[in-house]
Every structure is written in C-alpha cells, then in structure tokens.
Symmetry: C2
Subunit: 162 residues, 2 copies
DNA sequence: TATTGTTATACTCTATAACTATA
DNA sequence: TATAGTTATAGAGTATAACAATA
C-alpha cells in the first residue's frame, strides 16, 4: 500500500535548488534519456551476475550469437552487434584462449573463418543464458509479463528498420 | 505497401551460417539488449544534431538540469545523472569557459557552489531542447504518440525505485 | 578493385585514490 | 568525522589508418 503522492507543480523552481533530488521532468520526456537510464540499471545487475562466468556484455552477446549461428564469421558478428572489426579481434582471441570457441577455415571463402562453440562453450552459454533470463525477470519485476513484451516490442520499433 | 514476410523457423540452423544476417532471436528476448540497441540509434542522431551546438550528451543533460534547477550543485548533478564527481569537473569548467554557466558560492554551505545559466546559456539550452524534441519525434516516428508514452512509462518502471 | 581479418594506435568514457576546505 | 569539490591517473570502450591474404 502506497500513500498518495502529491504531484510536483508544473513550473520550475525560481529559487536555488536546496533539496537532494533535482527536477528531471524535462529529461524524462525523452526516449533517449529513459532508455539509457533503464539500460544502466539492467547492465549493472548483468555485470555482477556474469562476473562469475568471466563474461562481459560483448562476450555474452558474441557467444550467444555463435551458439545460435554456428559457423558465423567475425564480420557477421560485427555487423549484427555494431562492433568494429578491430575491437572484436582480442575478444575472439580471449574466448578461443579459454577454450570456449573454435575457429575453422570457411569452406567456401579462404579469407573468412567460421566460429563454433566447443562443448565447454556450449555448456557455459547455456548457463549464462539462463542467468540472464533470471536477472531479466528480476530487473523487470515491476512490469507484468504483458508490459515486458510491450516494452521490448516498442524498443524494437525504434531501432529496427522497416 | 509491404509484402508479407515469412516468419523464420523456430529452430536454430544446424548448418554453417551463410547468410548475411544472423539469428538474433534469443538476444532480442532481453530488455537489456533491446534498450541498448534503441539507445544506440537515438544517440547517433543525437550526436549529429547536437554537434552544431558543441554539446555532447552529458553536456546537454547538465545544462538542461541547471536550466530547470537553478543553483544546483555539482554533487546534485552527479547523483541525478550517475556521473562520478571527478568526471564532472572538466565538463563544468568547459561550460563555464564558454560562458554558458556561472558558478556562485552557495549561500548556506561554504563548500558547495551553485550553478546557474548565463543569458547565453539559457538561449542555447532553449534551442538545444527544441532540437532534441524534434529529433526524438523523428527517431520514434514509427511509434504512435500513445506508444511513445507507453514506452517511456515502461522504461521508467524499470529504472525508477518504488 | 573489394573484402576478411588483423595490427597499431588514439580518443572518449568511466573509475579509483588521494588531497583541500569547509561542515 | 563527514561532505563538496578537485587533481591525477588508470582502465574500459570505441574509433581510424594501414596492412596481408584472398575474392
């Protein structure tokens, strides 16, 4: 049960701001501001939970994409995730060094290298995806399942073409 | 008019990924992934349009907050925007150097410094806020006004406490 | 000539430790 | 002792230019 909270006045204060919290009503009218704030909250929990796997956001996205797209190339990962090629090199090398992915020459293109998960990589991705699913449920606990679906659909409308 | 697009199969491909676009359906079930993708799109347009004012995202947020909270302190800005104090120093110095803000000693706390917009700062913020309002309308053009309101409300439910 | 992957490097953003002056 | 602001610095993330191998 929550007490009825008085709505703030519709005009900005003309006296020096003395309270702790500032008036953010204008910023809150922008999708960009709100998307970033929401992302910051989710990303913080994400970083905490994924630390046990030794995975950062980019690591998880890359491994998950390879899991569901075996044989994907670095170029495809870069295009899909908006990562610049030079910045993916060390990430891939680290994942390979940990024995999570394998690099096999592409059957039809001698320049390209197909990426595949190892058995260990498969297992780690499965655990990590479950962990992300769990933390997503927590961070969107204040949303109904229907609201969460709507939120995702509307976000996709913003960034997806056509 | 758009042609009916066939929905992709519900199973992941077991053959090497040969197509350009990868299967992102799993990542797209996460709020975090979608929020970041949407933010990336909005932020790119933001950077382009605000370049004419010489303002980056943090600059705009700070100036807008000061505009609507005259006398706000650095500490309040840091708390509100999740900026670390050391990272705000040069930003404030730059805005002051451009003659956009003034720093006046706080009336009741000798440690604190109240921040105020100059006349020039006021005018710039007014223009910048209008520009952001315009680009927000463009970047969320595929959303109805009602959908845009819903999107913002749901995002706030994710990051706002209580 | 264009593309894949790579190296080297620079720039921006964010984070930590320690200091000063006021409270 | 705690807080506001500052300095210096380190780390992470992101960017550009240029190269070798292949198409």
């Amino acid at each position: 049960m929550s007490l009825p909270r008085k709505k703030p006045a519709a005009t900005a204060p003309s006296t020096p701001a003395r309270s702790e919290r500032l008036d953010t009503r204008v910023l809150e009218t922008f999708v960009g501001y709100n998307a970033r704030r929401a992302w910051l909250v989710v990303t913080e929990v994400f970083a905490e939970r994924m630390a046990v796997y030794g995975l950062k956001q980019a690591d998880f996205s890359v491994l998950s994409l390879i899991a569901h797209n075996p044989g994907a190339t670095s170029r495809q990962l870069c295009t899909t995730l908006d990562i610049l090629p030079p910045n993916l090199v060390s990430l891939i090398a680290a994942m390979e060094g940990r024995g999570l992915i394998e690099r096999r020459p592409h059957p039809h293109d001698g320049r390209a290298i197909g990426l595949y998960l190892t058995a260990e990589g498969e297992q780690l991705v499965r655990q990590a995806e479950q962990t992300v699913t769990d933390l997503e449920a927590e961070t969107s606990a204040r949303l109904t399942p229907r609201e969460r679906e709507t939120l995702i659909r509307l976000l996709q409308k913003v960034y997806q073409p056509g």
